[in-house]
Amino acid sequence: MSEAAQSQQVAPTPTSSLRLIGTLGVIALFAGLLVVSVVEWTRPIIAENHERALQQAVFDVIPGATQRRDFVLTDEGPVPKEDAQERGPIIHAGYTEDGALAGVALEASGRGYADVIRILYGYDPSCACIVGMSVLESQETPGLGDRIETDPDFLGSIEGLDASLNEDGTGLKHGIRTVDPGEREDPGDIDGITGATVSAEAIGDMLHRSADERLPQLQGHWSELERNE
């Protein structure tokens, strides 16, 4: 039998299981090392990026704020985030240059037209009103729903919006809601946007739900937020 015919008849030997597992093991090891080193290396940079973005957003919604401290809202009131033992809603407190409380920034979210919208809004206890609103995350239709981020009448009617509490402090005195543009009656009304009704109403709705729940919880604890070390 010629050598060529012989080699044609012998089937190639399958690779041993040990070799297979060994190869996968080495590759997995390499993959693990690569990923872990990159993650560790970028972790502080990413944390800093998030911190900077949050800082910017808080200062955007609390006019006059130049310093920030984070608190966790517990059953006993706000606790500085560094000292907090439990998890809870985050209160971002903004302070002016001389350390006076300028307001607090709270997060709210709700379903808009396309998907969930997340916002940050500022509240000033000295006027019991909402002082600013910034959209953090939105998938609303560009040119239509995303006008909640740019429409001057809509945003303007949110600034200075009455968010005072009722007599027993259990909820908002005037509910916050979005109405048709130009039809504001109650102090808690926001001018809506034509062509972006659902998105604008969603914002009004989530502002109401958040303020209605959080502000009573903060009632009586404002002095704890006053100090800024």
């Binding site: 297979l20 993959a31 940079i45 998030h50 239709t141 040119g143």
Partner: protein, 219 residues
Amino acid sequence: MAAKREQEPITMDTFLSGIWRENPVFVMLLGMCPVLAVTNTTENALAMGLATTFVLVCSTGLVSILRDFIPKEVRIASYIVIIASFVTVVDYAIQAISLDIYNALGAFIQLIVANCMILGRAEAFASRKPLGKTLIDALGVGAGFTLALLCLGTVRELLGAGEILGIQVFADSFEPWVIMLLPPGGFFVLAGWLLLFAWIKERQNKRAAAGKEATADGR
């Protein structure tokens, strides 16, 4: 019996074929998902193209280095693990570089791992060719991919917002064609480009056929 080593020169041809003849998006229709999803602005398209090219070059490079070491039976699994690692690396790198771009691209960065183009290239090319040729090919395919993304991104951003890279191009009176920024727009613009290329190709074929006839008649 000494094995004959491949001594083909690394040519410009290898690089260019990835851009035109074998363009992953327009010719081979691979990697469609990011093409349609992240091309609503030119900036996003560019970022996605670069990220994918990075993963492509690193993954195929590594596969080429290890090509004699990885047994046939586990090659797909190995390629997938390698690709997934580099995608994770890119994911964290982008977060560190720019949170804005990261939020804009979203889950599609991690979805680079499901881009058939990378796995296909690793299997068809990197597993057989030496490192140098593989890298050139990867750069070519990556460039072709990025170019395709840019073709879509610029058209969609221009028609849908009147801007390119955030710089306004059309006058204020331009009424943006918002649908271009939304999913249907992606489909239509890509279809448009494919139509254009098909038309060009048909004209080239007609000319070639007419040329042949003329030569045949002339004899």
